[in-house]
Symmetry: C2
Subunit: 592 residues, 2 copies
């Protein structure tokens, strides 16, 4: 049976690291394990119900000729939600066998397979009356994007269960694409998926197709619009910034990283490094979120990082995690895991309610009470993207190389890497102490030291006599974050973090206080207030701040006064919007 | 001959004030007079050339059957640009007879008249193959909006020249609309225009139609979309905020104010007052600009007033001036002129290059060098809107009531109000001294005291023995402006004003300095530096500030240091982007 690895670099010529199977990491912690269990028992079943209720499954039955009904859905890309659901379910099965879920997956796969055309074509939108439109509008219709999500689901299902049922469907469709060679899709996704399909099957034509889809971007005449929105305005090797639609940008960058893992293309690598620099030094919200603008769900200009209107789509944060993971496997550089972890806690996780049943599409950094999670969307990309990311999560906890095992994320867990068993004991992220015991033939342990703890780098521990025991104690002192003054929207403001968690202030902890009127003085000490009963168990932070009384004029000839003293309580940003709606802000006004 | 008044409230039952004719105010000053002359000799002729070159005139010839060519233009509303040009030319003729321009106006009117259909219908887009589409998509096609601009042009032409040629065209079209009674337009404009047409003709059915177009908004079923974008989500009397597309919102509010001037409708008035409050206390940029968002060219939420991405369309600022003028005539409240003046200098005027030939559509409050004025636009609403506003300008300088003459704006000028002659001598806005001499039978002079000089209110001077002489000296000390902390994007920042002028810092005065790295310390004195040779003659302001060296990290654990001392030079915001492109900012970081 294939191993349940995410991004299988085990035979990639240019990979620094190999991932470990999802199934080899058993999380037993207080933070992630309950979330993964909720994902399996609530989120994933609930999303299948939504897919059924909204006609997304029925679309396949229609395409198979079983039902004479119209295509359902506001958008042409509804198939992709089903594929992402399949991927989520597959990764969940990797770490938690579940016969009922397995049977549901098989049933959905049967519907998908039945809808496939004799020539391998599969997209339930382009059937019957729209058959003649196939491959006629690659820019807008997400036709190859849907195929990409099928490939990812198929690879996950194969790696998680060993079953080839969906993989065969995927290969038939990929072969169809390779025959037609229609060009690149307006919404990248297939690039990374095709590389994974190549890895799962060994079929070099899928890698070739992925490379082609990257190489044709920015050619003249334009293949998909010629605009930055589609990353089609310059050759990919000349794309030195993150721009346009954020999810498209980061899926494409992930695909390019996948290609570099295979062939080491220096021009692609240089572009990726420039894009990373652009993202992390000029176009990333403090949450790790990507995509400043509502217009076009797009990256803004340099330093355009507003709070209330931050778009920072949940899918874009997930795409960033995917990108970071690939760059990490390529380089073994801890900085990529630093961002991956930060993004996971502070940009991905806020997209999901604590109940696991409601979702954010956009993730603003400030709100006046109107922005709330929803159970589903007409454009439902984010919910199953969250589900698959959570289901994959154990696979992000480690990687290996030549007997060196890299511990990337921290939680109570047992990891089996080869014949080495690693046990991690910690109360991370609430507590900084991490105790690690390893037995086996591994040579060394590499423990990531986060940037906030002095890293990003590695604490290296050799195994002597097949054993190693190490305790790290990361300082979780609350710390203040300041944006570059060029981030006009964050001037005079401070954000607060503790360990890997970004904090925010929410009105639910400040009855009746408009938190946009609050100031956190520069010298105010931040004290820890463990609240095991609150929001699934958090360490709140408290400080004496001030709050203005009343709204005051819009513009005045003197700064607005400091207001009344008031205890300000901060909670992890991932936990916001799970209580009574009200004002919220990540950035607090700071008086000097 | 009709008087060249803008918004003719001379018979309006609920008007507090009556305007004075454009022709009765002769500006002789250093600031506005050259701009009006440039408007007449450069801007207006240049815009006619653009209208000709882009097929906008030809569209009328096509509609008249003179040419067998397609409709020209990206948008269905190209006619409105020609109408606004006619209005601009008409007002210009009011204050400056110009036989050549008069002849051009007559020629264009002849083309317009020839295109009118026998039933009065006139819209060059909905001709021939599109004739059957008339009045089928009021929401999107600007069909009645174009009619509104024709009505305004016709009224202006009639009042300025006494000629009825265009007025007759307008009345025939208005009668056509009154017969068809198609409902309200997705883009308001006709409402205010119909009230003016009523005033110019005495035909009550035009007023009735305007009232109807306001009353039907927000009805169920929706008449034009049902969305806030079109101000069609609630009844107008229940619209208590400025929302949706900013120009539509403010044209509609102007039309509602025109209706209140006529009938005093208390429900409409209450809505207008709430909208004003919403605008000026929560949704207005410090420039006076309206419309925060690029998406939908729309007002944002309360306090959503970012700098670099401020949309603040030039047309929206003009619409705000139109609204303020009507509310002023309704109430005689100086606060409306205060905003009108501020908006004129700081939100309308920046839309025009000093050359008078290039235009901004959007007016950001901060820029990194990429935002530059253009000679014309596919959607060319702003250029002729600027031209007509400048041509109208003398009419905004005074109003009257029962022998009381209100001086609203200040410049060297001679005003004839009835038999009273008023001479104003001043170097406003660069100098604050205003010397006024009046001769005649007027009872009192009301001189506006701007808010920044202790107002908004009136300095009242009786005429004794048919004479009055008064000198006011408004303090022009540079002053700092601070936004309400709820304006997240302006926290920790300061803007600088002097008199009615808002200032900004522009890289052209700071060779190579990125002004987004600059800090203006809270205690730094601002000194005046007259620069008669610069940007048409300005009083620059200077202060010792600091500038960071290098970009620095995006996020850091301590505030970015103060940097190196450096003299910062500020110029009036209206004059920005007339030199070498570079960084610019209205809001400067302020250290406490």
């Amino acid at each position: 049976m294939a191993d349940s690895v995410i991004v299988d670099t085990r035979r990639s010529a240019h990979a620094a690291l190999r991932p470990v199977p999802v199934a080899s990491v058993v999380l037993t912690d207080h933070f992630w394990a309950p979330r993964l269990e909720r994902n399996r028992t609530s989120t994933i079943p609930g999303q299948l119900a939504h897919c059924e209720a909204t006609g997304r499954i029925q679309n396949f039955q229609r395409a198979a000729g079983k039902l004479d009904v119209p295509f359902e859905g506001l958008f042409a890309f509804n198939d992709s939600d089903v594929y992402k659901w399949l991927e989520a379910a597959a990764w969940s099965l990797a770490s938690h066998p579940d016969p009922e879920l397995d049977a549901k997956v098989d049933a959905v796969i049967a519907e998908v397979a039945a809808a496939q055309q004799p020539d391998g074509y599969l997209n339930t939108y382009f059937m019957f009356e729209r058959e003649s439109e196939r491959f006629t509008n690659l820019r807008d219709m997400h036709e190859i994007y849907c195929a990409g999500h099928l490939f990812q689901a198929a690879v996950a299902h194969f790696r998680a269960t060993g079953k080839r049922s969906l993989l065969e469907v995927a290969c038939k469709l990929a072969d169809c694409l390779a025959r037609v060679n229609p060009g690149a899709c307006g919404h990248p996704e297939a690039e990374l998926a095709l590389v994974e399909l190549f890895r799962a099957t060994g079929e070099g034509r899928y890698l070739t197709l992925a490379k082609h889809m990257i190489a044709v971007r920015g050619q003249k005449p334009a293949l998909c619009g010629g605009g930055a929105y589609w990353q089609d305005h310059v050759l990919y090797t000349e794309l030195t910034e993150v721009t346009g639609h954020a999810v498209r940008m980061l899926y494409l960058a992930s695909g390019a990283a996948d290609v570099v893992l295979e062939d080491g293309d220096p021009a692609l690598l240089a572009a990726l490094q420039a894009q990373w620099e652009s993202f992390t030094t000029r176009r990333m919200h403090v949450t790790g979120g990507a995509g400043a603008r509502w217009e076009g769900e797009a990256f803004g200009k340099d330093y355009e990082l507003t709070s209330e209107r931050a778009y920072t789509e949940t899918c874009a944060a997930i795409a960033s995690v995917m990108w970071s993971w690939r760059l990490f496997l390529l380089t073994a550089d801890a900085k990529y895991i630093d961002l991956l972890e930060w993004t996971l806690y502070n940009a991905v996780l806020p997209g999901l309610s604590l109940s696991g049943t409601e979702y954010f599409y956009q993730n603003p950094l400030a709100d006046r009470g109107g922005h709330r999670r929803k159970e589903w969307f007409g454009c439902a990309c984010c919910p199953p993207n969250l589900a698959r990311t959570l289901a994959q999560l154990p696979g992000y906890f480690a990687a290996e190389r030549d007997g060196d095992i890299y511990l990337t994320l921290y939680a109570d867990a047992t990891l089996e890497v080869g014949d080495t068993t690693i046990t991690v004991e910690t109360s991370y992220p609430e507590r900084g102490q991490v105790h690690v015991i390893a037995h086996g033939s591994a040579r060394r342990l590499f423990l990531r030291i986060p940037e906030w703890a002095g890293g990003p780098s590695w604490h290296i521990v050799p195994l002597e006599d097949r054993e190693a025991t190490v305790t790290l104690d990361f300082p979780l002192t609350p710390r203040r974050l300041y944006a570059n003054p060029r981030v006009l929207a964050c001037r005079g403001q401070v954000a607060v973090a503790r360990g890997p968690l970004l904090y925010c202030a929410e009105e639910a902890d400040h009855a009746g206080v408009d938190l946009w009127d609050a100031t956190l003085p520069a010298q105010a000490p931040l004290t820890e207030a463990p609240r095991p009963e609150l929001l699934g168990g958090i360490v709140a932070l408290q400080a004496t701040g001030t709050v203005l009384e009343g709204a005051g004029p819009l513009y005045a000839s003197a700064p607005h006064g400091p207001g009344q003293e008031r205890t300000l309580t901060l909670i992890p940003y991932y936990a916001w919007a799970n209580r009574t709606p009200g004002t919220m802000t990540v950035w607090l006004k700071e008086d000097n």
